[in-house]
């Protein structure tokens, strides 16, 4: 029995309004500024989020440097240290991790589901420009002495409005991505056959849509309050505490949901075998998303994080990550494994996420770590770093779809290993300090932590920066036009590898065959 068949002509006609290919490809600046092409928008997200994100990592390193000798070293002045601290924490999620994940997803997800374009392409483009404007305004608000703890009221107002704009823009991107997976899959690609990365992006996007609007609501309240005297949230510094729930577990896990999907897809392809318990993999990813639902903690601080429900969520969140790791082990056992950079990125990201969820479970237990300790920062860092590693891995793995040529494989193998070491050196000291010391989560106060461990964090930050630089160097070939770039350099299983490299404006040449399994390209090769 053939596993693929030519679709009836009615398929193209029936889905014409949503899937119609644009006629002319724009060129020059117009191709960037006015583009609704998901690949262009995704690339813009990737490049700009890395440009915003690197200074955030440097900031983290500088905090660790000051933390090694807080009594004598004054890297930051007393007046500005809290503002830099909030920029580092908020920027790490909203200027780096989330937009980077969204950027990779925006390029890859429509290709994976066989769509000719992303859903609501103009909205997707608006999401990027909105996010960029919001990010620039957020940084500007700090420059004018705004942000939480800032001394200038207009700067604080600008910070709230800018973060609101960033969140709304990212939500628009999430709607585009989730709708693409839910409504624009090609014929035969049922939801249970959806590639794991696209599935994980849909799960994450839906979770963002259900939780981040609560942050938007909170920002509306903060803005109205701050404009009229600030009676509800106390000082400017109190603003940060109100939104800390977004930056810690369980909510921070939603940023890292695509890590599981990326790992599942890449490891299956690398092992040259199908994922056997597919429903289990999809279930684990869905469960991890649900366990990251943290909107019920909006505005909460203190002891509520030691309530039984939050503890239970933190303890159970380890299981889906273990399930995907188990799946990876099964793939290695059954398949013929290749040592690719993608596999190393996937494994590193999974291990960092496992470290984060394990730290979250340990830090949730009241007897081991008090509410609002520095251990919670470590958990947040692990989720963010896992998302960054997986995203960089995604750019490497799908290099021929995102850029113009395959990435440098040797440097690509080095980067995830350095990033894994660096991430562990950043996360573990914070968790240990939270358990054995009493450093706080909501302020840059090093007196309660274990100062000696900050040396390890400095080393970890340097390693993460080196890892990102190695990854960036490995991705340089993506910028140069190549000849005979292979459509499928990895013997891929899913539809994106059917698209030419780089993909044209309408993604695929000709009509796609009706999909009859979760691995249509494996079907095709078996058929031939």
């Amino acid at each position: 029995m053939a596993v693929t068949e030519t679709p009836p002509e009615t398929v193209a006609a029936a889905s014409e309004p949503a899937l119609a290919a644009p006629r002319a490809e724009p060129r020059g600046l117009a191709a960037v500024l006015g583009s609704g092409d998901h690949k262009v928008i995704g690339r813009l997200f990737i490049i700009t989020s890395l440009a915003f994100g690197l200074p955030m990592i440097v900031l983290g390193g500088l905090f660790a440097v000051e933390g090694t000798q807080p009594a004598t070293l004054d890297v930051f002045s007393r007046d500005t240290v809290f503002q830099f601290f909030t920029l580092f924490r908020v920027g790490g999620v909203f200027l780096l991790a989330l937009p980077l994940v969204i950027g990779v997803a925006m390029v890859v997800v429509p290709l994976q589901v066989g769509a000719r374009a992303i859903a609501f392409p103009r909205a997707a483009a608006a999401s990027y420009w909105g996010w960029l404007m919001g990010s620039a305004l957020l940084v500007a608000s700090y420059l004018m002495n705004g942000g939480p703890g800032g001394g200038r009221a207009s700067g604080v107002n600008l910070w709230i409005a800018a973060l609101g704009l960033i969140t709304v823009a990212l939500l628009v991107a999430a709607v585009s991505l989730a709708t693409t997976v839910l409504a624009l899959r090609t014929t035969g690609l049922t939801l249970d056959r959806t590639p794991l990365f696209a599935w994980s992006v849909a799960v994450a996007a839906i979770l963002w849509i259900l939780t981040l609007p609560v942050l938007v609501g909170l920002l509306v309240v903060m803005y109205v309050d701050h404009r009229h005297g600030g009676s509800s949230f106390g000082s400017n510094a109190g603003l940060y505490g109100q939104l800390a729930w977004v930056l810690r577990n369980p909510q921070i896990y939603t940023v890292a949901v695509p890590v599981l999907g990326f790992a599942g897809d890449v490891l299956a392809t690398t092992a040259r075998t199908r994922i056997a318990p597919r429903f289990a993999a999809q279930g684990a990813i869905g469960a991890f998303g649900i366990l990251g639902f943290g909107a019920f903690l909006a505005g909460a601080t203190g002891e509520i994080y030691k309530e039984w429900l939050v503890i239970a969520l933190a303890l159970v969140a380890v299981l889906p990550v273990l399930a995907i790791l188990g799946l990876a082990g099964d793939l290695f056992r059954r398949g013929s494994f290749r040592l690719t950079a993608g596999a190393l990125y996937a494994t590193s990201a999974l291990l960092v996420l496992l470290l984060g969820t394990l730290s979250g479970a340990v830090a949730s237990i009241p007897a081991w770590s008090p509410a609002g300790s520095i251990a919670d920062i470590g958990v947040g860092h692990a989720a963010v770093l896992a998302a960054v590693i997986a995203s960089l891995g995604g750019v490497h793995w799908w290099a021929t779809k995102i850029g113009l040529q395959p990435a440098n494989e040797a440097l690509g193998r080095l980067a995830p290993l350095v990033l894994l070491l660096g991430s562990a050196a950043i996360v573990i000291p914070d968790v240990v300090s939270g358990i054995f010391g009493d450093g706080p989560e909501l302020a840059p106060d090093w007196t309660g932590g274990i100062e000696g461990l900050n040396v390890v964090v400095v080393v970890g930050t340097v390693l993460v920066l080196l890892g990102i630089l190695a990854a960036a160097a490995s991705l340089l070939p993506l910028l140069k036009a190549g000849t005979d770039v292979p459509a499928d350099p990895w013997e891929g299983q899913t539809l994106e590898w059917l698209a030419p490299s780089p993909p044209p404006l309408a993604n695929f040449e000709g009509d796609l065959a009706v999909v009859t399994s979760a691995e249509p390209l494996v079907d095709l090769s078996e058929e031939n």
């Binding site: 709607v175 109205v224 009229h228």
Partner: protein, 197 residues
């Protein structure tokens, strides 16, 4: 094997991708969560204020129930008229569809009017904690109503232009879905703020 595949009957015609409906459902879910989150903050602040032995609303301020009830009743009526519009387009009864959509938009404007009247009756300063929260919650909902009205108006014009008719009424169904969620959000606000205060 390949011959067997060629001999298969053609695949059934797939359903048209309901992109607009799915996207609207996601946006509506997000908007509903924003309102629910705001109401949660309101309830939490009120509970904390009452737990410390204080009063919630400042002296001299009150939330009269009648305008709130009128606004909610009008909102419910608009749900019926919106359902009527979708049904009329489904039956290709364009005249009834125009009438129902116009009525829905009229009801929406009436809700905005009732809420602004309620604001004038409350005598509540924005600078107080209840003032911040009540204006933020109801203001966000007013924004949702305006968004729903614009959406419904656009879909009305598209229906007038003949884009939606008979079984193909995705745009109008999407606008209706957003409107129903707006009504559900109003129900939450009505109960938490206007009734419970």
């Amino acid at each position: 094997m390949a011959d067997a595949a060629l001999a298969l009957p053609p695949a059934p015609q797939p359903a048209r991708p309901r992109v607009l409906l799915v996207g609207t459902a996601l946006v509506a879910a997000g908007a509903f969560m924003a309102i629910v989150g705001l109401v949660g903050v309101y309830i939490s602040a009120r509970t904390n204020a009452l737990a410390t032995g204080g009063t919630w609303l400042p002296a001299g301020s009150s939330i009269p129930l009648t305008p709130g009830n009128m606004a909610f009743a009008t909102m419910l009526l608009s749900g019926v008229s919106m359902w009527w519009a979708v049904d009329a387009v489904g039956k290709n009864d364009r005249q009834m569809a125009y009438l129902a959509l116009a009525l829905t938009i009229f009801f929406g404007i009436a809700v905005i009017n009732a809420t602004s009247f309620l604001y004038s009756q409350m005598d509540l300063a924005v600078s107080s904690t209840p003032g911040v929260l009540i204006f933020a919650v109801t203001g966000a909902h007013l924004a949702m109503i305006i968004l729903g009205l614009v959406y419904a108006a656009v879909m009305t014009f598209r229906t007038l232009g003949g884009e939606y008719h008979g079984r193909d009424r995705e745009g109008l169904t999407a606008a209706a879905l957003f409107w129903y969620v707006t009504i559900a959000a109003h129900a939450v606000i009505w109960l938490a703020i206007y009734v419970t205060k």
